[in-house]
Symmetry: C2
Subunit: 431 residues, 2 copies
């Protein structure tokens, strides 16, 4: 069957970590495709920036540095974009769609910021725009959310969506490393990029969350809607305190659809060790979803890497091929048909872990407690332990409180001479 | 939009726990469907056995006890079968497909035994046959395996696929209950049926495993291919020994695609507490999948219950509606295009936990060890502890060994007067 199966041509934009993985999987699966799909997708062109760099694993004749070679080749029906970043990816995807080509992309930057524009172009052209690889690497999550759970009102999506930060936090917790050492280790292992800002400051996770929330809540959420705080301010001390309280600290991406609007934020969070996300270690990702019908679900796996991400790309390619074969490209388009407002972070409610250095004299704890009380912040737990010279360390866990009230308390603290330093403010998981 | 959206008619076969949940979700989602799907599916007929029984929640005019009312109604494009069992479900699904209706079913019995026949009928008719609800309730697993992971060679599927037995094992482990008490508790809570045989003897899990293995390995595996052993023989003592060794006991469904064939079995297993499946408690289900590209994945959620199962049904209905709208019903058909042999259980390799009562005199342990040694069974660990009157209890953990060799040892033991009883034989997880 393989020999006589009609081919369908795809072009690959990018031949880095993910691109070469995609090419490799096409080779591995070439004898399966005809049976699975009734058509055999092949990569007939690979776009790279610099043709002079040596490329391993693929026939040199496939490579080109001219986008036009792909755009104007009517035999190429599918464009696979794995270059990342906004431009030139955005322009190319729009051009590919307008030329009637289906698009598979791993580009979270683009989907989190220009999803609406790209979907509009796909719909107008009657083409597929598929992006399973944009979120959580090899974990099937886009199609399950969009299709399998279509009979649910999704009310919560909570995930560990960035493997680099999860690896760093795992090493800080398991091996007592400080942040800088753990980051360096992550870079040595290739988990973190030379410039790790997007990962450690939470921006990467925020992009993925914007995409998941848009699908889950049927309302467009973009990157700028997501409150974002990274992990670079975390110390080994905070992790030790968390452990003492039966918790771990994870960089959590959390989106909720509430009667008063959508909440979407990425920040470190104290999670009880019994929470399913607390068992997600190293560079693994996991997504927890709550639907009114399905209840609690969790999806877990490799959130990055060449072959896991390529696995997601290939699943989408198979989908695009099936749709082209059946003449139903664009079968599942944009599902953001609502306009639900996104809440400001200051209007959300949270519990807090607050670690501060105060002057070690009678009455200071009472001062702290009264500032919190005056701002409507109720205290769930206090630990006062470490003492050096004339400074005492106080850790306060609050009950659930509006962010605004808690910020007001912090503002008052900053003007009090007995409070020498606010060392950490970390949100605490609250059911 | 809702008012002017064309309707598409579906019929519901069965109005029990799952059927009434499906009806309820249709009502909840009716204002969403037009936007999500461009069409509004409605349940226009409900087939029940006994019309005289009172039915809550649905218009009495919808009910019928005549299958012909549905089969011969050309306006009904989708048949949703949630009655369970082989007949009359099989005949009705075949008739529905031949009449050009798409079919959504939650029927694991049928899919595990007659999947090939049903798929052939669906393909001939150009109709959808969707069955996400047949395995693991609300957890999206069929579509992820079949579509999202289509670029992988799946080599292992390991799951907790039966909530009843997992609930029983959780209570035995957490509360020290014996099997009968835990079963009774499960029945009181509605987790176990009046006749719990299919659940506790592993048959329910075996059906689901057959379905998952067929999809994962692209080769048809049927119920009779699955070696099945239940949990009714487990005692609290075995669970206590397991815990002492840092393990729990779960009813595990395991399928592997190896160079020498497919392995498919359901049996109790000692799992190290660090294994992701060890943290799946109560009536939750989870499926662990290994793909050559995606790596390790886990899907976890509610494996049964009215709304979780209805959630899976509704996801399939949305899929069927989209396919009908695009004229591509039957877009994803049977993917069992290989004929991989299924290995006999005796040809597989396992590690074993063996608990036995022996005569308490010198040399008996040496006898046991030499029988095992003579049959090529290597011992990893021995515990000898409990002693009553003249009987000692020995627990042996073996290294990995062929089932056949281990069975030969057991046969020898049964003829030895110093061995009074084989109290437990449980397989042990082995990476």
């Amino acid at each position: 069957m393989t020999e006589h199966c009609p081919e369908i041509q795809a072009a690959l934009l990018g031949y880095g970590t993910v691109g070469s993985g995609v090419y490799q999987l096409f080779q591995r699966q070439k004898h399966e495709f005809p049976h699975k799909l009734g058509l055999c997708p092949v990569i007939s062109r690979i776009l790279v920036r610099d043709l002079s760099r040596p490329r391993r694993g693929a026939d040199p004749a496939l490579f080109t540095d001219r986008w036009e070679d792909i755009l104007h080749d009517g035999d190429i029906r599918i464009v696979i974009e794995v270059t990342g970043g906004i431009e030139p990816a955005r322009t190319r995807i729009l051009e590919a769609l307008r030329a009637g080509k289906s698009v598979v992309t791993a580009n979270k930057d683009l989907m989190a910021e220009h999803g609406a524009e790209l979907f509009a172009a796909a719909e107008e052209a009657g083409c597929d725009l598929l992006f399973e690889a944009a979120v959580a690497g090899g974990i099937p999550i886009i199609r399950p959310l969009k299709q399998c759970l279509a009979g649910n009102y999704i009310t919560e999506i909570m995930g560990i969506l960035n493997g680099t930060t999860n690896y760093i936090l795992t090493r800080m917790s398991r091996d007592g490393m400080d942040f800088d050492t753990a980051l360096q280790k992550a870079q040595e292992l290739g988990y973190a990029e030379a410039d790790p800002t997007a990962d450690i400051e939470g921006c990467d996770a925020a992009r993925k969350l914007a995409i998941l929330a848009s699908i889950g809540f049927n309302s467009r959420v973009v990157l700028s809607d997501v409150y974002t705080q990274g992990i670079s301010g975390l110390s080994a001390k905070d992790i030790a305190y968390a452990e003492e309280m039966g918790c771990c600290i994870k960089l959590v991406a959390l989106a909720r659809c509430t009667p008063s609007g959508i909440e979407a934020r990425v920040h470190p969070m104290l999670l009880p060790l019994g929470h399913p996300l607390a068992t997600v270690h190293d560079s693994f990702n996991a997504v927890f979803v709550h639907g009114d019908a399905a209840g609690d679900l969790m999806f877990r796996g490799r959130g990055a890497g060449s072959l896991p991400t390529a696995s997601a790309v290939l699943g989408d390619v198979c989908e695009a091929v099936r749709n082209l074969r059946c003449g139903c490209a664009g079968r599942v388009g944009c599902t953001c048909y609502k306009q639900i407002p996104v809440k400001k972070m200051e209007d959300t409610e949270n519990r807090f872990f607050l670690r501060m250095q105060v002057e070690d004299r009678p009455g200071v704890l009472a001062n702290v407690a009264s500032v919190l009380g005056n701002n409507g912040v109720s205290i769930a737990q206090v630990i006062q332990k470490a003492r050096t010279a004339d400074t005492a360390e106080i850790v306060v866990i609050t009950d659930r409180v509006q962010e605004r009230n808690f910020s007001d308390s912090l503002a008052v603290f900053s003007g009090m001479s007995v409070i020498r330093k606010i060392s950490a403010v970390i949100r605490v998981y609250d059911e």
